[in-house]
């Protein structure tokens, strides 16, 4: 018999004997499946957060902040500065200005899930805001009327924070507001925000005629440099300009680091635990089949087909575990809506967990690696077993 047929034969025997040791096989499958669930779930948090942050970005939209500020929260621009910024070349100018000076503050507002106050982002915008961000559209109700205490609420904000549906009234400090619309931003982070008229927000926050940022639409994706040069060469302005996608990916760095470090740490530890479990399972599988394997060897089967069959079983079990784990993670976590605190903007961001095909693939590969490691040593042991002593064993 050649090597391949030997291997197929031995593997066939191995697989057919699985039902006899179903218990320990199931334990191995669940062990590896559990790790894959955790691995996928943790990464789906990071992935969802990243998608929400990145999805916000339109490379044709830019954000201008005071130089030295890395978030809108700590930035500040005078009314005169915002006027200068919006007149610079490189910006879209067809039918009116496409630059919106904005305020970004937080209000203490209860979370739907806990009823406790959270830092909810409140953005004061000007009429050009929607022109600067063409991807945002009102999906329910209408846009607020300028000069009134009306607000529009992002779709996620309306879901995650208490009492923010069209028609409801809210009170923050001494001012009262009415929700008149809900807006959609393709699931991006802007949907976590509440928008109102900047001119109404300024006096409420004692901001005089100052703003924090300018959102502007470039004439084309390539006119960034023109606009940037115009800003940096103007001695009256100390500002930095950044494309929207870059801004948001920078804003998400801290949280992503935490999720990844913590998540990978936990998943790594669990993988180690699962590998020990798999080794144990495969060892006892080999131990239980000592006589069987020795008989095969005595019949003339080589050592390598035996190794291959044990490894094959380990990998098969881990693939089953990996598929089940990935499936469970997908059913349990894909699309799960939540909010968390983004430290960099000091405010809540809403996002949905995302179990992407890429993540599932990585989970499966991870499972196979665990299976290979778990199966390797028992396989070598099975092959090295001296035939005579093995046959003599019970």
């Amino acid at each position: 018999m050649n090597w391949i047929t030997q291997m197929l034969a031995v593997t066939g025997v191995t697989l057919r004997s699985i039902p006899q040791r179903l218990g320990s096989s199931i334990v191995a499958i669940i062990g590896i499946g559990g790790v894959v669930v955790v691995f996928t779930a943790v990464l789906s948090i990071a992935e969802g957060f990243r998608a929400a942050m990145r999805g916000t970005g339109d490379p044709q939209t830019v954000i201008v902040l005071r130089s030295g500020s890395d978030t809108e929260m700590t930035s500040g621009l005078g009314g005169e500065e915002t006027r200068l910024i919006s007149e610079k070349p490189g910006l879209e100018t067809s039918d009116g200005p496409h630059a919106s000076p904005e305020l970004f503050v937080i209000v203490g507002h209860p979370l739907q899930r806990s009823g406790t106050d959270a830092n909810v982002p409140l953005r004061g915008v000007t009429p050009a805001a929607l022109k600067a961000r063409p991807q945002i559209r009102i999906v329910e109700g209408r846009m607020f009327n300028t000069g009134t205490n009306e607000i529009v609420v992002g779709r996620s904000a309306s879901r995650q924070f208490a009492g923010l549906t069209v028609g409801s009234a809210v009170r923050w400090g001494t001012s009262n507001w009415v929700v008149v619309g809900i807006f959609d931003a393709n699931g991006s982070v802007a949907e976590s925000e509440i928008w109102c008229d900047a001119r109404v927000l300024q006096p409420a926050y004692n901001r005089g005629n100052s703003f924090q940022s300018v959102y502007a639409r470039l004439a084309s994706v390539d006119s960034f440099q023109t606009f940037k040069d115009a800003l940096t060469t103007d001695p009256r302005l100390q500002v930095t300009v950044i494309r929207e996608p870059d801004y948001y990916s920078q804003q998400s760095q801290v949280l992503q680091t935490v999720i990844r470090r913590v998540g990978f740490g936990i998943a790594g530890l669990m993988a180690l635990g699962a590998i020990f479990g798999a080794v144990n399972t495969m060892y006892s599988a080999v131990a239980n089949r000592t006589r069987e394997i020795a008989t095969l060897r005595a019949l003339g089967f080589g050592a390598s087909p035996v190794v291959a069959s044990v490894l094959f079983e380990a990998v098969l079990l881990s693939v089953v575990g990996g598929v089940m784990g990935g499936g469970l993670a997908w059913i349990g976590f894909d699309g799960f809506q939540t909010t968390t605190m983004n430290w960099q903007s000091f405010s809540q961001v809403a996002f949905a967990f995302r179990v992407t095909p890429d993540l599932l693939m990585r989970g499966l590969i991870f499972a196979v690696i665990m299976g290979l490691i778990g199966g390797f040593f028992p396989a070598v042991r099975a092959a090295r077993m001296p035939v005579v002593t093995a046959l003599r064993q019970l």
Binding site: V27, G68, G173, Y205, Q238
Partner: protein, 387 residues
């Protein structure tokens, strides 16, 4: 005790299985320690927040400042025994990524309000007298490699100086704490230093971020909080007062599901690893049923067999759990925050260490008890007949 050798030989008869079982228990307990540390980090020190300390912020949100004149009125309120205040400075050193958790405070009342920040008396005195002085946490000093006497320039986007220059500080002291769970990454400096510069800007001077005050009787703090908020109602800056604990716990809740989901899943997996390990331990007893029969034939009574089997399972649990707990304790205590300053309160609370040790014993007894009972109840004839 004389049977320890027998237990030991039994453990060694399937070395690989014993090692694997011990190793997976070890991993489970390392995981346990890590989870408890993460939980403590995400709860942001709610355990040590003073119950007798109330916090007052602007009603709209914590980023809105309040007038400095509020201080006198709070102090005059009956039931308030001490008062201090703070302003979030949000400074960084050279690069925004070198973020420093910095706050402008009133030094004497601040240290009086927070006795958990322990500063040597001479450093304390220097700081009180040095207008541009600062005291920093031991962890921050370690991370930034700052020593007493160092000149530290910080940039703060919220409080920009004229000509965009940095704020210069001198490190006058380093605080540490014997209490667990105290944030040692903070940087405190004189409010007067900040306010002096802010007063030159229109409408920026004499603003306070938040007030903290101590109450004589914590059981009346809710009433007192309402009374104080009522005092500032209908003013330009309305207030929200609550216990420090309430603020910290609300703040921790803002992290939301992410923290609880990670902890929940990993917790389930930890118990699963333990379950698998327990299964392997029980399996090894079942395999030796007829050996136990032999022991009984030799005159071992039921109680002794029970003890023998339990001793074996407890040895495995103690080996794995003990090493695991010790390992993670060392990693957390000496390694510190794995994110480099993003989780300032990262420690393994003593309470959870005790819980971990209990869990180790529970595991030892839990996994050993059933097979041990079965073994002790065995009839010799049945045991010997089994192969």
């Amino acid at each position: 005790m004389k049977f320890l050798h027998l237990v030991w030989r039994n453990l060694l008869r399937r070395k690989v299985r014993t090692i694997m079982t011990v190793a997976s228990i070890l991993v489970a307990f390392v995981l346990f320690g890590a989870l408890m540390a993460i939980r403590a980090a995400f709860s942001m020190g709610v355990d040590i927040a003073g119950a007798d300390r109330l916090m007052m912020i602007h009603k709209v949100s914590i980023i809105q400042p309040m007038p400095a004149s509020y201080g006198e009125r709070i102090k005059a309120t009956e039931g308030v025994t001490a008062l201090t205040h703070a302003n979030w400075f949000g400074g960084f050193y050279q690069e925004p990524s070198n973020f420093v958790q910095s706050m402008a405070v009133d030094p004497p009342t601040w240290l009086e309000m927070y006795p958990e920040f322990e500063v040597p008396p001479d450093q304390r005195k220097t700081w009180f007298g040095d207008r541009t002085g600062a005291i920093i946490g031991a962890d921050l000093a370690k991370r930034m490699n700052w020593k007493i006497g160092d000149r530290v320039p910080l940039l703060a986007p919220i409080y920009q100086r004229a000509h965009d220059g940095p704020w210069e500080f001198t490190v006058d002291g380093i605080y540490d704490s014997t209490k667990q769970g105290v944030d040692k990454t903070q940087f405190f400096f004189h409010y007067d230093y900040l306010n002096e510069a802010m007063r030159k800007l229109p409408g920026q001077g004499d603003q306070i971020g938040w007030y903290i005050f101590r109450v004589a009787d914590p059981s009346t703090s809710d009433l007192l909080a309402k009374r104080i908020d009522a005092m500032f109602a209908n003013s330009s800056a309305e207030t929200k007062t609550a216990t420090e604990k309430a603020f910290v716990s609300d703040f921790a809740k803002q992290i939301g599901d992410i923290g609880s989901i990670m902890i929940a899943i990993a917790g389930v997996v930890m118990f699963f690893i333990l379950f698998v390990a327990g299964n392997a331990m029980a399996q090894s007893v079942r395999e030796r049923i007829n050996e136990l029969g032999v022991l009984k034939t030799l005159g071992f009574n039921d109680g002794r067999i029970l003890a023998l089997v339990l001793l074996e399972s407890c040895t495995i649990a103690l080996l794995g759990g003990g090493i695991g707990l010790a390992l993670i304790w060392c990693l957390i205590t000496f390694g510190g925050d794995p994110t480099g300053g993003l989780l300032p309160i990262f420690h393994f609370p003593t309470r959870d260490v005790v819980f971990g040790v209990l869990l180790v014993f529970l595991l030892g007894f839990g996994t050993g008890l059933l097979p041990a009972l079965q073994a002790s109840r065995l009839k010799i004839v049945d045991a010997l007949r089994r192969t």
